[in-house]
């Protein structure tokens, strides 16, 4: 298993190198790092900066300088804020991951419970009801649902009970000017996590239901029932135990996508995460932030794929790693 993981990481290095070169090349062609200076119309400055930044060198040399900088921790300076890029991405990534871990965990548990419930009671009223609700969940746009949550769970209860502050906060992930405590963070997390969860639960519970139905109609489930195994145990130990495959696939893909962008959720709740950082940098034409941002999300995709493959191996003895 460890040998496999190690081998896979080694194999993914060329992918990263090629991917990062394509990234660098496309960003380098699309953005002009000196765009701001050109407004000054002083050719002296342009030439000096071109030489200082090495823009007159070949693309491979520029790429190499950028990559070695990235690897050694020198990620450059943002053209938008003039601050160092590394701490910007670090803090955005931390915020997004925090949101993501709770969102994924919560969505996963809810989706599995609902999916199993639906499958065990196929064609019953609750199955149809859950199917309807999932389509609704899929159809709800996050920006709208987030605002609805703010109104229903934060604003109205506060007005109704005349509280000083809402039960659930909806701006940022910490209260300004205070040491973050667990309770405080939790109160900030509830609404964005719920917003994030709705869409995920809708799809994931469908996947769980489908693969549970497959498993429940399989011969080995019949065998288990013929042995006298109680229904609940048949469902968990035989059917569910065989149903993780498709769910692992879809969860890892969704998770990888979300590392780069809870764009809407972050916007609605003013959370300074990766999505917002991307949007702000893109609008400001800040290539110095965009490049490492894209490389980080690329690495996330590769790592999560690896995690998914290892999970397949752990869950199914027929998969040899």
């Amino acid at each position: 298993m460890f040998a496999y993981a190690f081998r896979r990481l080694i194999y993914s290095l060329p992918v990263l190198v090629i991917g990062s070169f394509l990234l660098f090349w496309s960003v380098r062609t699309a953005f002009d790092p000196l765009a701001k200076l050109r407004q000054i119309r002083d050719p002296e400055v342009i030439i000096r900066e071109t030489q200082r930044l090495g823009l007159d060198q070949g693309i491979l040399v520029q790429y190499w300088r950028w990559l070695s900088g990235f690897v050694t921790g020198d990620w450059g300076v943002s053209s938008r804020t003039s601050g160092s890029v590394k701490p910007m991405i670090q803090s955005a990534l931390t915020v997004t991951l925090e949101l993501l871990v709770w969102g994924l965990l919560f969505a996963f548990i809810v989706a599995v419970v609902l999916g199993v419930w639906s499958a065990v009671r196929q064609y019953s009223f609750s199955d149809y009801a859950l199917t309807g609700i999932s389509y609704l969940g899929l159809a709800l746009p996050a920006f709208w649902f987030g605002l609805i949550l703010i109104q229903f769970l934060a604003v109205w209860p506060q007005q109704l009970f005349g509280w000083d502050e809402p039960l659930f906060f909806f701006v940022g992930l910490t209260s300004a000017g205070e040491e973050p405590t667990f309770i405080d963070t939790a109160r900030h997390m509830v609404l964005p996590v719920l917003t994030l969860t709705v869409g995920l639960v809708a799809t994931w519970s469908r996947f769980t239901r489908a693969s549970m139905l497959d498993a429940l109609s399989s011969d080995y489930v019949r065998t288990a029932r013929a042995k006298g195994v109680p229904r609940r145990r048949v469902v968990v130990s035989h059917a569910l135990r065989n149903s993780w495959g498709p769910l692992v696939t879809v969860v890892s893909i969704d998770a990888a996508l979300l590392v780069g962008g809870l764009l809407v959720t972050e916007q609605v709740f003013s959370i300074p995460g990766m999505g917002r950082l991307f949007l702000d940098s893109l609008l400001a034409g800040d290539a110095f932030v965009l490049l490492p941002w894209m490389l980080i999300t690329g690495i996330a995709v590769i790592v999560l794929n690896l995690v998914a493959d290892i999970a397949y191996g752990l869950l199914d003895p027929r998969v040899r790693l």
Binding site: D219, T223, A224, A226, K227, G228, V229, R241, N242, P317
Partner: protein, 335 residues
Amino acid sequence: MTHNSTNETLLEVNDLSVFFHMREGEDFFAIRNLSLSIARGESLGVVGESGSGKSLTSAAIMGLLPANAEVSGSIRFLGQELIGAKESDLRELRGKRLAVIAQDALTALNPVHTVGKQIAEAISVHDNNLSKSELRSRAVDLLDLVGISQPETRVDNFPHEFSGGMRQRALIAMSVANEPDLIIADEPTTALDVTVQAQILDVLNRIQDRTSSSLLLITHDLGVIAGFADRVAVMYSGDVIEEGGVDSVFYETAHPYTRGLLGSLPRLDARNRSEPLYRIPGFQPSPAQRPEGCSFHPRCSIAVAGKCDTEIPIVHRAGPEHVARCHLVKDQEAN
């Protein structure tokens, strides 16, 4: 092959009907007024074409019919009525007194659990006083019993590491783990090649001798029945159309369908081997579109117009302990 059978009736199925409610299309009877019985220690073979309701009969006995099936009639096992019995009571019986050997060994084992764990589960669900190591050693013994070499290491294998024949043996080990009173073997050798088939039947035979279990052997192989069963029930379109001792049914065949089945077997001692094999004309009707009267009459060469195509035949006595559901069978005096 006669085992130590007694006259005590172990399983008695009376007037069993299984009715399917379809979400699309017409509802239909998949099994219609089926009756059969098995004495303790006896082997009853059930033969019939695909779709004649053999496996459904076994599912009905186990209480494992699909949810859209409606069942009526009576299934008495050890004096207890199984139709309408509580799920918890049925669960007590399943695997303990009433075991089934599944049809397709390739898919009937759970791919993510070891063979040993699955055998141990058959024991532990009915007796949770056993420790892990006791369960394991019981599983090893059972694998040994069904003729798997090196059972101590094989017990920790996953099903995909077993060959088809070994998986079938493992399934047998699982079903006999609690020495059940009745073993239902649902085409236990269909997926296997002929040599393995013979070995598997031999294993079944040995176990039956050892435990004096009764056996309900579902198959479409008349040769297996001839070599293995005490009595045979022939099914056609959801009904037993002939039942009796193996010799009696094979040599004093009463029902034209059974005669057709036996006649269509290839024979080594055939006088003219270049002659094509006999085949019963037509096809078994789908249970949703059963013909009026005797369901076999459209294919029957001796059907009587005005009787066979209008009246459902009753059961006639064709000989001592030999019955057939055919208008043309003359009742014999029972002795």
